[in-house]
């Protein structure tokens, strides 16, 4: 029988990359992000749309599930997972 051991838990975070000029402001990534990491920005891209930006409150909020990448129709967003090692050392 195994128990949940807190030390063995690896915290995985995602690093979000946004290609602003591809965005068409459909809002899927903002609406369907399970963690609510993204919000609409005030800036314009070359086509006049508002690309998303990260919510600044918590930098480690993204868990790297990659759903924004799957749901983006314009190949404008992708996520790279990164493991967090500093806290455990």
């Amino acid at each position: 029988m195994t128990y949940w051991v807190e030390e063995e838990e690896k915290k995985v975070h995602g690093k979000v990359y946004i290609i602003k000029d591809r965005c068409k402001q459909c809002g899927f990534c903002i609406e369907f992000c399970p963690q609510g990491v993204l919000q609409q920005s005030e800036e314009f891209n070359a086509k006049g749309y508002h690309p998303p930006k990260l919510v600044e409150t918590d930098e480690k909020k993204c868990v790297g599930c990659g759903f924004c990448q799957m749901i983006c129709p314009d190949f404008a967003i992708f996520v790279e997972k990164e493991e967090e090692n500093e806290e455990r050392d």
């Binding site: 995602g14 979000v16 809002g27 609406e31 749309y49 799957m70 129709p73 314009d74």
Partner: protein
């Protein structure tokens, strides 16, 4: 965590110079293309052994964006083209990605007979309930009562249930997903690509520009929220129970997964039989 502009990892499968694509903001076709690219990446398919065929329509553009052997055929004739491709190159994976108008209106006959013969191809049919590219006319998949440019008082024609058509015609793999189920759609495409025989996936996609705004869903987000609230996953049910009606739930899932000898196998068997005599 920071934002920088870098190449999307999917760009290696795309003709990246053609991106951003011409589809409207919020169009579901980009998600279908994205799911397909993720599926071929996860299966690690050799791009030299993959051919994508599409017909005419907004969905037909998909063949132009994928950086593999891809063919943009005449209207409705994607499946006959793919049939020839598969029979001449049996080791190749042939995928047809096309819209409901192309596959089921002008190309309906070809779909039925390819499924009947059990040609070993994968068909991804994107259903957006209308003829999107030509201005949102009534098509064979428009639900009863839906308003389009040619049915301003509501549609009076009974629509096709595409999954039921595919099942009745003899397809060995039939599934339906909406574009909101992007990850399940990707997994389903992976299964279909590995399936021997005629596999069909219906993808319900948002068309905010021509369908949604005439049917009280003016925004692509409204359509996606509708899918989230109204789609129910029921694996293995009889596709005849999965009709699409306005205001009713959209039944999604994997409906059919059976084994049957394919056309290629039947040809090989016949060859052996004839040589013996």
């Amino acid at each position: 965590m920071e934002i920088e502009a870098r190449a999307n990892p999917m760009d290696k499968y795309l003709r990246a110079d053609r991106i951003p694509h011409i589809w409207c903001s919020g169009c579901g076709l980009g998600i279908v293309l994205n799911a397909f690219l993720h599926a071929i990446e996860e299966l690690n398919i050799d791009l030299d052994k993959l051919a994508v065929v599409s017909g005419i329509g907004c969905t037909g553009r998909i063949a132009g964006y994928i950086n593999t052997d891809s063919y943009h055929t005449t209207h409705g004739r994607a499946i006959p083209f793919a049939t020839g491709l598969k029979l001449a190159n049996p080791e190749m994976k042939v995928v047809v990605i096309s819209g409901d108008g192309d596959l089921f209106a002008i190309g309906g006959n070809h779909f039925i007979h390819a499924a009947r013969r059990n040609i070993d191809i994968t068909v991804i049919g994107v259903n957006n309930y209308n003829y999107g590219m030509t201005g949102g006319q009534l098509g064979p998949t428009t639900p009863l009562g839906a308003r389009t440019t040619t049915s301003p008082y509501g549609n009076i024609e009974h629509p096709f249930n595409l999954c039921h058509v595919a099942h009745a015609a003899g397809a060995v793999y039939v599934a339906r997903w909406t574009v909101l189920h992007a990850i399940r759609l990707k997994n389903s495409i992976k299964e279909a690509l590995n399936k021997r025989g005629f596999s069909f996936i219906e993808v319900i996609a948002a068309c905010p520009t021509t369908y949604g705004r005439r049917n009280k869903m003016p925004d692509a987000l409204d359509e996606m929220r509708f899918y989230r609230e109204h789609s129910v996953i029921k694996h293995g049910i009889d596709p005849s129970q999965a009709n699409i009606e306005i205001g009713k739930e959209i039944v999604v899932g994997k409906f059919v997964d059976i084994e049957k000898p394919t056309f290629n196998e039947a040809v090989e068997e016949l060859k052996k039989k004839v040589k013996k005599k």
